[in-house]
């Protein structure tokens, strides 16, 4: 049979695997939001990672800043999600929409959102301090199957983010606003002709992606802490997942998110966390060279 050491190693690998899967599921959520906003509005959001932190900070403010802990995370979600929607909608209307009329507005949007990212990052540092904030786990306790130990937190993060994606997918295919979003993505002019309010759809799409990444922020901040400076890294990760999975393909994003979540967990376990961003960067370059359209992307 296996020696004691081998079994311990196997348990350790299982732990890493579980961590990778639960992180990966949140990445999937973020990648879907990103693919949506870029696919529909062609606006690339450099502040995406800072909205991730914004979700975490809103939850922290509610639970510890104000001290309102009644209902736990249910209340947090009920309060923070609409708040994120409002923030996203207002930002799109105030900042991105005025740029649409200009020549090469896509580049201008990138500069603007990068400025926004710098602004938010330093704002978080000033307001909340450089020290990381932590959120309590959504569920305490562990589930033990034989010798394997799963924490309820990991399981719930996994279930909630996959559930979030499924709700989103259902909305996109079955509700009026979802179909309008799809119509605008396929043919903006045609959508306008049949009377779909394009500007409002753009703003809503931006807002929905903000909600998704904020939701991801609330979920993952319990495991990772909220780091004011981490916005850039998270944005790069979300974008690597999106590019690796293929732009505009939700299923590709899903596979890519799990592959990258696992890759990151194993690279972190083997070489240390600081190498994970290097590994991701190499993966991104390899993807772009070998298969620029990504895993499931349609290509041009």
């Amino acid at each position: 049979m296996f020696s004691e050491d081998t079994i311990l190693l196997l348990y350790e690998i299982t732990d890493v695997l579980i961590a990778g899967l639960s992180t990966g599921s949140v990445y999937a959520l973020m990648a879907v939001g990103m693919t949506l906003v870029y696919g529909v509005t062609k606006a690339f959001n450099f502040a995406y990672g800072d909205f991730f932190n914004m979700g975490g900070y809103f939850a922290w403010i509610l639970m510890f800043g104000i001290g309102f802990q009644f209902g736990g995370y249910v209340t947090v979600l009920i309060v923070v999600m609409p708040l994120m929607f409002l923030v996203g909608y207002a930002l799109e209307k105030l900042m991105v929409a005025p740029l649409r009329k200009r020549a090469d507005w896509e580049n201008k949007v990138m500069m603007l959102t990068l400025g926004l990212a710098l602004f938010l990052t330093s704002l978080y540092t000033v307001v909340f301090g450089v020290r990381m904030k932590s959120l309590p786990p959504i569920l305490e306790g562990t589930l033990e199957v034989g010798q394997l130990v799963f924490s309820y937190q990991d399981i719930l993060i996994f279930v909630m983010s996959i559930g979030g994606i499924m709700v989103f997918g259902w909305m996109l295919n079955n509700t009026r606003i979802g179909m309008a979003v799809k119509a605008v993505a396929q043919n903006p002019i045609g959508a306008k002709i049949v009377g779909i309010p394009k500007e409002r759809i753009f703003a809503s799409t931006f807002a929905i992606s903000t909600v998704m990444v904020g939701f991801g922020g609330i979920l993952l901040s319990q495991k990772w802490f909220i780091n004011p400076m981490s916005g850039g890294t998270i944005m790069v990760k979300a974008w690597v997942v999106t590019a690796f999975g293929g732009m505009g393909s939700i299923r590709g994003g899903l596979y890519a998110a799990f592959i990258i979540g696992l890759l990151e967990a194993f690279v972190g376990w083997l070489f240390g966390m600081s190498y994970s961003i290097i590994a991701l960067f190499i993966l991104l370059l390899a993807t772009l060279v070998i298969r620029p359209q990504g895993l499931m992307g349609k290509g041009d």
């Binding site: 201008k108 990068l114 330093s122 704002l123 400076m229 290097i278 991104l284 370059l285």
Partner: protein, 321 residues
């Protein structure tokens, strides 16, 4: 803008700079700021050539600057190379890295290029801090502390004799500015602009996108690397903290104040923003917040920067010219 006008603006800006030490030459703090103005002017101009003229949306300029600085610093400390030579080697090294980064970017569209170059920026910090960097001699999380000053024929240009150092910086910076000016006004510059406006049409006229885009990467990263190496030797210490977002946002504000694609503008933008950012020093941590907000406001309100503003005024006054 015509070559004559560019030359006049550059001449006036650098002329004023050259006169300032007569007034404040014995205040070391102010001289340091002036030297920083000259250094950042080059970096901002290079970034402007990349984004405003060639239309390549690269966010890797700070990374190239740091690469150049570290390369020259490591050469001088570990391998005892004379600073002037090590600066040139650093420039060539950075140019090579620029071409390496540029190669995958050639096939990519806007946001992908932005992301790959931003990825270079993000990946550089753990590389310098981690074991790879330590093996190369980057000093890990301490950074480089004892970079020797530039030494020409036994005369050392350090912050001890700051006025001569200032004039050396002025010469280097002016040389870079003139190189950029002539490149923009030469056949290359026209090719960059043509590729930016319509790549397909430019290529149908026989302009090789491959060649010119790589050239932009090589040229801008060469100049940025040289000035980064110069910065390292002047400052004497280097830390990976330079890759934090502060510097990045200040550089972006410089470029936006000057006006994207309005070349000598970024030089004036750099002068204004370095001075302005020193004036904002009492704001403390809020300075970075202000810089971020400024980027947003400038993109929205002043799309062509100071330069575009004045050019518009000028063309309003004389519609025929």
């Amino acid at each position: 803008m015509r070559l004559k006008h560019m030359a006049i603006i550059i001449g006036v800006a650098y002329g004023i700079m050259a006169l300032l030490p007569l007034l404040v030459g014995d205040i070391r703090f102010l001289m340091n700021i002036l030297i920083m103005c000259l250094i950042w002017a080059v970096v901002a101009s290079c970034w402007d050539v990349m984004m405003g003229f060639a239309g390549i949306f690269s966010f890797g300029q700070v990374a190239f600057f740091v690469m150049g600085a570290y390369c020259s610093g490591i050469l001088a400390i570990e391998h005892h190379v004379t600073p002037v030579l090590s600066i040139l080697i650093a420039g060539l090294f950075t140019a090579g890295m620029g071409v390496l980064v540029g190669l995958p970017c050639l096939r990519l569209a806007g946001p992908y290029v932005a992301l790959v170059t931003f990825g270079v920026h993000m990946a550089l910090q753990p590389t310098l801090r981690g074991e790879i960097g330590i093996a190369l001699g980057s000093g890990g999380s301490v950074g480089l502390l004892t970079i020797p000053p530039i030494n020409i024929f036994g005369y050392s240009f350090s912050s001890a004799n700051i006025v001569p150092t200032f004039y050396l910086t002025l010469l280097v910076s002016l040389a870079c500015a003139l190189v950029i000016m002539f490149v923009i006004k030469s056949y290359w510059g026209v090719a960059f602009l043509a590729l930016k406006d319509s790549q397909d049409f430019a290529m149908s006229l026989g302009i090789s996108a491959f060649k010119y885009k790589l050239m932009v990467f090589a040229l801008t990263s060469f100049l940025t690397g040289i000035i980064g190496a110069y910065y390292g030797h002047f400052y004497g210490v280097l830390s990976f903290r330079m890759l934090d977002l502060d510097l990045f946002s200040i550089l972006m504000v410089m470029m936006l104040v000057g006006g994207l694609g309005h070349y000598p503008g970024s030089i004036i933008g750099a002068f204004l923003v370095v001075a302005g950012s020193e004036l904002m020093a009492p704001l403390g941590a809020y300075r970075a917040v202000t810089m971020g907000a400024l980027v947003v406001i400038l993109v929205l309100a002043l799309p062509n920067g100071v330069m575009g503003f004045f050019l518009k005024r000028a063309s309003d006054r004389a519609p025929s010219g």
